[in-house]
Amino acid sequence: MRLLINKLFLVLSSLSALIGLMFLAWILITLFVKGLGSFHFNLFLNDLIDGGLRNLIVGQFILAGLASFIGIPLGMIAGIYIQEYGQGKYAVFIRDLSDIMMSAPSIVIGAFVYAVIVVPTGGTCGFAGAIALAIMMIPVVINTTDNMLSLVPRELREAGIALGASKYKVIIDIVIKAAKVGIMTGILLAFARIIGETAPLLFTSETSNYFSLDLTQSFPSLTVSIYDLANEPEESSRDLAWAASFILTVLVLVINLTGRFITRNKK
């Protein structure tokens, strides 16, 4: 009886793993079949107004890139503070708050940026979208930097200080260098996360059918346009949405796997 229960349990547990894998396979196969079916190289050459995705892909990269440009330095420096400068309660407090912020609903962050940027400036713009994404990114970067710096042995820091280097020199030249790979991985994963975000962009940057580099206007976004296209009645719009989803997912998964690959090689 005991052995039977044991067997049953092991089978059920393996079955759950199979269910998890099945969902992943199901989604990926759907994307490949539907996405590749409507995929065409011209999608990269035309803008949405001409039935392509060029402006959206470029726009999404600019939004996520600008968000990283704002979010990565702020997050890293805040992470450095927690691990290297912070003493006692305040650093712990910041760490906890940042973890909470990491799980804040993304739509609420969108609403916040809408209220502080979109309303006063009178319209949706690329900057607002990038800032919403940056707010999502900061806590993730803080978390990685914090974790990775904590793995750097204390002796390395002591050796640097013993050589007469100032604290910030030690941090920049020794500690960060030692933790570089881990931090890079974390940043890649954070980038993969924000480039697939839709909710914070809905009413901050919105999207645009035209190619645009003007961050003070509504800005083309791949994810927001997928949402719009998928809800249109025409078959052709939905096909385009599938092709866009396929491109987005491949992009996100490739960035994700690259991040994991870097860490594993280093180990």
Binding site: S16, F23, Y81, K167, Y227
Partner: protein
């Protein structure tokens, strides 16, 4: 230079506090017209964007159109001389929708996530566990909008065939949400199971315990707090999920009678109505956002401070 860097680092860290406090204050201020107007009745009122005549206290015909009435002042209805009406907003439907989809998602995801975690931590050989672990984490990396599209066009029809009812419903939205939080829960649970000391497990095996008994009597009690923490974090994530639910919940402000009925959740109400809303309607959406923010803040703090702290 040293001083500058130190100042810079402390101000970046403080930025986190500023942003969080800023979110709270901003939402509160933007919501205050609705808070002043409806108070806490907002939470129990199921009418969204409904005209109520004030003179007779009788409800006027329900406003079914999608447009949101902007006037936050009382309107004087010219067609009907003595009916003074105003538009009422209540958050009950999206609040209920949010809670129910989350409950469905967790009920569905919990057993499977536990199974996956046990499989990864205890059953599978190292290399298989590694590959399956990465696959499960990739599932977590797929953008939520993809879950929504896949759910609407491929998953929901099957569920609707099995259980009847509508393709867009509480049930389909909850289940897809469950698939989304699954990898999340499984990964954290696996990690906390992995912290069980080998000595404990080995002693149990030496006493003749089966794998099931070791997991049930040694590993589960040992990692219990971490597992509860993972459930609460998944809960927080499910509450705030927007895009996947937006495709699947149906987006109508009607209380569901059955699990297979369409309704709406807080994030979806915001996603679909924010653009067109103004005045009291917009303020009511901010009120909903504030409620969502406070609930998820409370839940995540609980997970962080109580359960995950204890687990370490």
């Amino acid at each position: 230079m040293e001083k500058i860097f130190q100042k810079l680092s402390i101000s970046s860290a403080t930025l986190v506090v500023i942003i969080l406090v800023g979110i709270f204050i901003t939402l509160f201020r933007a919501a205050s017209p609705a808070i002043n107007e409806f108070g806490f009745d907002f939470i129990v009122n199921a009418d969204w964007n409904k005209e109520v005549s004030l003179s007779s206290e009788q409800t006027a015909s329900m406003d079914d159109s999608d447009e949101i009435i902007d006037e936050d002042e009382m309107l004087f209805d010219e067609d009907d001389e003595d009916s003074l009406s105003k538009t009422v907003y209540g958050g009950l439907v999206p609040i209920v929708g949010t809670l129910l989809t989350t409950i469905i998602a967790l009920t569905f995801a919990l057993p499977i996530a536990m199974g996956i975690a046990v499989f990864l931590a205890e059953i599978a050989p190292k290399n298989i566990a590694h590959v399956v672990g990465i696959a499960i984490e990739l599932l977590a990396a797929i953008p939520s909008i993809i879950f929504g599209m896949w759910g609407l066009y491929y998953f929901a029809p099957i569920i609707a065939d099995l259980f009847g009812g509508y393709q867009v419903s509480l049930l389909t939205a909850g289940l897809v949400l469950g698939v989304m939080v699954l990898p999340f829960m499984a990964a954290i649970t696996r990690d906390s199971m992995n912290t069980t000391p080998n000595v404990l497990k080995e002693s149990a095996y030496a006493l003749g315990a089966t794998k099931f008994e070791v997991i049930k009597d040694i590993i589960f009690p040992y990692s219990k707090v971490g597992i509860i923490g993972s459930i609460i974090l998944a809960l927080g994530r499910a509450l705030g999920e927007t895009m996947a639910v937006a495709f699947l919940i149906g987006s109508i402000f009607v209380l569901p009678q059955k699990i297979t009925d369409p309704t709406i959740s807080i994030p979806v109400a915001m996603a679909n109505n924010f653009g067109e809303a103004s005045g009291l309607g917009e303020s009511s959406l901010f009120y909903l956002a504030l409620i969502l923010f406070v609930i998820s803040f409370a839940i995540i703090s609980l997970a962080k401070f109580y359960f995950l702290k204890k687990a370490n």
